[in-house]
């Protein structure tokens, strides 16, 4: 199962990364590649919309943590939205939510991250 990743650069300055599929080793690396490319292009506010993802494993989480660390390093902002209850609970237990906010939906997330 290959993870499909797409990006929408919002006019509000938030780059939204959409995922569809399993966030595992391959999926996580694909997200990291896209995220690091965006960072390289100067994007410092990233939103991961996981509406199309129902499953994530520990390798995928460790890669997401690396992306969060990178965002901290560049003093950027990363958030998640549209998480399944299972994934949201997993992120809480794994401590991701200490450094990355979780939003119910994309509209509220973009508004919050754009400072509106």
């Amino acid at each position: 199962m290959t993870l499909k990743v797409t990006v929408d650069r919002k006019p509000e300055g938030v780059a939204v990364i959409y995922t569809e599929g399993y966030i595992n080793n391959q999926g996580g690396e694909e997200i990291a590649r896209v995220a690091f490319d965006l960072i390289g292009d100067g994007h410092k506010v990233l939103l991961l919309n996981l509406e199309g993802t129902k499953i994530v494993n520990s390798i995928g989480i460790s890669i997401l943590i690396e992306i969060i660390e990178k965002m901290l390093e560049i003093e950027g902002k990363l958030a998640f939205c549209n998480l399944t209850p299972t994934i949201e609970k997993t992120f809480h237990i794994m401590g991701l939510t200490q450094y990355a906010a979780i939003h119910a939906d994309e509209v509220s997330a973009v508004a919050e991250m754009a400072g509106r």
Binding site: N24, N25, N57, I93
Partner: protein, 526 residues
Amino acid sequence: MTGTAAASTAALAGYLELAAGGEADRKLAQSLLDGLGRQTGARAAAAYLKEDGTLVRELSTGAGSFPYRIAEDEASRFERRPMAGGELLLDGGTIQEERDTPVLLALAAAVRALVLEKKLKRQRFEVNYRGVELEALYDVGLAIASTLNLEQLSEEILLRAVSLLDARRGALYAADRDGGYRLSRILGGEARQRLAPDDPQVAALLQGRTPPAPQDLMPGAEHLLAVAIEVDGDPRGLLVVGDKESRRGVGPFGASDRRTLSLFANQAAIALENANLHRQALEKERLLREIELAAEIQRRLLPARLPRVEGVELSGWNRSARHVGGDYYDVLELPGGRLAPLVADVSGKGMPAALMVSTLYSALHLLLDGREPGPDLVERLNGHIFQSSAPNKFITLLVTDVHPVSGEVRYVNAGHNPGIVLRAGGEVEELPPGGMPLGFFRDGRYTGGELALAPGDLLCLFSDGITEAAAADDEEFGAGRLVDLLRRSAELPLPEIIEIVDGEVTRFADGAPQADDQTLVLVRKR
């Protein structure tokens, strides 16, 4: 102390101050590496940490780029210095022991700190992930208790198992009736639709081994782990995961993975059993509703009231042994004021017999259509029943053609127990069979009989559920007892006679369950 050595010492002091100030170990190590690179004149330098047996780049400095992971033979092309938990690689430049030793020592310490920090981070990650595992098992338990949606539960269990075992793929199979397994859900690719019970690949899986050709079961898979889903030792399914992931790729599953997968299989077993019991209960409820509907339909096939005509009194009664029955009676009105009292009995009981009753009812009404219910009609009825019934199904029928005023009676008995005529003087005559039950032979032939009812004579048509009603010692009620009852009550109103027969038969059975449908039709000439 040389100038260079003094500069190194100052730099070291600065780095130490940096570290003491609480700056990250990583920044300290990076500064040391930058300094060392400049000091040695190297084009580039990198600090690698050992991870899962390979070297992974942690820091680099200078021009050119060292690969993220480096193989042993590739690393040998560079100047190498071992450090606790890693290696320093230099591209060009020269290490002078006297000059560079302090920085090398400081760098080694900083790298060691990075290694420990990473180890701590990994341990914290693993501890947290144990929490995720426990939560997952708890959640699956809650889901099982709160829903009976098997599809939803199956998906939940497979998702959790694949996720927690870091598997790349997974499949859930349900046991089929032939001892094999049928694919129920799949995650992360494709899997074989059915696993045959005698397949050596399946045997290997159930023994906890990856089968010789895992890609035959799951295309693309290299390592498989499976556990059986069992309820009280009966196989109900198979939970399979494929290819354990790490940052380096995929590998086999370990013993702890097997234990975790077994926990999910146990949960799946409970879910499957609960859902199965629930489905059975729903099915039973549905069947009951259908049977009640069928009983209602059958009740409507029986006459709500019998014709009221000059010359004869009429009464009929029926009680099924089950919700629906295989007995049928009617008193049809024929042209010329004649009547056709009849009783039929389908072999067997319950729903199949009830369906045959419907067939008989329809055929009889269609074929009769103003005709005489004589041998010709019964032969055509037989042909129809033969065509539309199963080989082991047949119907006995006693149909009469009564002229209420004259008392003239013609009848055809197709394998039914003989009807009884109790004369007003107490004598008994029978209406014997004139052919085989309907549906026995395609071209059954029937002969009829005739008799005449005088005032006070009682014609009794009945099914064998009355005469064969048995007591606990298997003694049957018998036609003799029925005749005696009719004699004793012959002058009572017909509904009372029926009540008496019903009461006596029930008393005779002495609590034994009613084994067959019971039907009684009485015709008395006024």
